[in-house]
Amino acid sequence: MIEIKDLHKSYKMGSNELHVLKGINFNVAEGELVAIMGSSGSGKSTLLNILGMLDEADAGSYTLDGIPIKNLNEKIAARYRNKFLGFIFQSFNLIGYKSALDNVAMPLYYQGVKRAERTEKAMHYLEKVGLANWSDHLPNELSGGQKQRVAIARALASEPKVLLADEPTGALDTKTSYEVMDLIQGINDEGKTILIVTHERDIANMTKRIVNLKDGIIIDDSKVEQVKASANV
């Protein structure tokens, strides 16, 4: 599903250059649930941004579902993001003045889906994350865990090939974190490819594979025995 070869990325910070990714090679097959771990500054967020086409690599190749991702202009990048990727953020990033349902429907809006169909689909995904009764609530009327679940529904709404989650449990307490992870595991069990950036060991253990990043290179990449989140709730 994802093939990355020799990925390099550096940022210019004033006069000195910060080499963040120093040759990343890794592949993700369809249906995998991968955790990308590393201390802060290890480059894991940068890697996720490149995977999410929010940022572009300086060198190396990135192929998503057989499509080479390079030299994208903003318009095409936006279309690819919409079609291939679903984002889940640490701070949820819901739009504050829109109801849960409208937030979930937004990727579909940008896909040009008709209103009625959009509402129906969005409702379906809200049901899936267990928030059908909260569809007309604004984000600030929801708890953290509920917000994240709305965000997950939004990420799923466009039926992407890959879900990218950037510290999805970073702003949640342990219990809620596990609930969210349970949801993510469930989605993965249905066959969705998911990448999670995290620095929490227990969250990483709930995935099927852990990629460890340090100073811009992968130091460890191993399959792990998945811990079911539901067992911890």
Binding site: A78, R81, K98, P107, Y110, S158
Partner: protein, 419 residues
């Protein structure tokens, strides 16, 4: 681009901060309000002043003879001369662009002695010998009977049309003047009509105290022969009398052996040139109205631009989210532009409505309290409203351009970076 979703997005964005939206809108509202009211006030002034010209053929000049100031072909300077009836024919034939050439002779005038007698009543009035066309050049309402016609001219009938002022002074209130006689300089004329002139100038009273008789009978009755006192000359539509003037003068000079460069021999009053001056004044007034209105509008538009910049700044994160989930740069740009245009147009519309309301109110007050000098029926036409609207759309786009550009310059990564 203009689907229901887009609109609900715009409405949502604008109504999320009502107070700010209204304050912002007020800038544009005020600008367009001032533009409309200024233009309408200018129009009102114009209408008021032009009412004095109402119906008068403005493309007209009046010309009379003066004293030749240059010797020519052996003739001395200081010589008097008179127009002749055949000058009129010559002008009509040689200058086809002329619509009317009306010769006129006159008795009386300012401070003249009593010249009209009826029974025991006497009065001093202006008496004009005229052709029927004069009614086209200096309009008057015939209140009774008829005006002079060509039958009167051809048969040299001694008939007269008198003003209401004359009627009032020479007749009793319920006396019918038609068919009765008055004596002008000892010659009896039968009254065939009465007139009333519309005029709100200072000479309104004087204008009703005139007597019109056929040119030919005037000449015969008062021994003018074929002399013509002065002429009222109107050019055809599409020609300006000011431009035809020299041609007319040249023909007259030629026929009366006046030096071609003698500019003082012929006196004239060019109504058209006067009228043009007034026209220019109002054009200038209109331009001033536009300039002031648009300048005020610009400050309103800058206000909108400013607020949109702030809005974009505030919504940096939202824009980042939208882009992360698939909004193209154009859909973001379009959103900001539409918000700006929408806000501008709505506030502009309200400004137009309020301006029109004020104009309506002024008209209502003017109507109910009677006419005011130099001001009548302030109005704006649809064209002005259309111009105002297109100014609004363009300025709304301009106001949104910079903020929209700012909005798409935000990289999704930066917008989403958690602090």
């Amino acid at each position: 681009m203009f689907n229901r979703d887009r609109w609900s997005e715009i409405i949502e964005a604008l109504t999320s901060n009502w107070f700010r939206t209204i304050l912002t809108a007020f800038g544009v509202l005020w600008g367009i309000f001032i533009l409309i009211v200024l233009l309408a006030a200018g129009k009102g002034l114009e209408n008021g002043v032009k009412k004095d010209f109402d119906g008068i053929a403005t493309n007209t000049m009046f010309m009379w003879t003066q004293i030749a100031s240059k010797p020519y072909k052996g003739l001395p300077k200081g010589r008097r001369f008179n127009y002749r009836v055949n000058d009129v024919e010559a002008l009509k034939q040689n200058v086809p662009e002329l619509k009317f050439v009306s010769p006129r002779n006159q008795l009386g005038g300012f401070g003249g002695s009593n010249n009209v007698v009826r029974g025991l009543k006497t009065g001093a009035y202006n008496v004009y010998g005229d052709y029927p066309e004069i009614i086209e050049q200096q309009p008057m309402d015939i209140t009774m009977g008829r005006f002079v016609n060509y039958g009167d001219i051809d048969e040299k009938r001694k008939v007269a049309v008198i003003g209401e002022g004359v009627q009032r002074e020479m007749f009793e209130i319920n006396e019918n003047p038609i068919g009765d006689y008055i004596k002008i300089n000892g010659v009896n004329f039968m009254i065939i009509g009465t007139y009333k002139k519309k005029s709100n100038n200072g000479d309104a009273e004087e204008a009703q105290k005139e007597i019109y008789v056929p040119f030919t009978s005037f000449s015969q009755a008062f021994n003018r022969g074929d002399k013509v006192g002065w002429m009222a000359i109107t050019a055809k539509d599409g020609y300006s009398i000011t431009e035809l003037k020299t041609e007319v003068f040249d023909i007259i000079k030629e026929r009366h052996t006046i030096h071609p460069e003698d500019n003082r021999a012929i006196g004239n009053f060019d109504l058209y040139a006067q009228y043009q001056k007034i026209e220019r004044l109002f054009t200038a007034l209109r331009i001033v109205g536009y300039v002031i209105g648009i300048l005020v509008l610009i400050s309103g538009v800058i206000g909108i631009s400013n607020i949109m910049l702030i809005v974009v700044k505030e919504r940096t994160k939202e824009i980042g989210i939208r882009r992360a989930i698939g909004a193209t740069p154009w859909s973001i740009r379009g959103q900001i532009l539409l918000e700006s245009v929408f806000l501008t147009i709505i506030s502009g519309m309200v400004g137009i409505i309020l301006g029109s309301g004020l104009i309506y109110l002024i008209n209502y007050i003017l109507d109910s309290s009677g006419p005011v000098d130099m001001f009548a029926n302030p109005s704006i036409n649809l064209g002005v409203v259309m111009i105002a609207l297109s100014i609004l759309i363009i300025s709304g786009l301009l106001a949104g351009l910079l903020p929209a550009q700012n909005a798409i310059r935000i990289k999704p990564v930066d917008a989403l970076r958690t602090e």
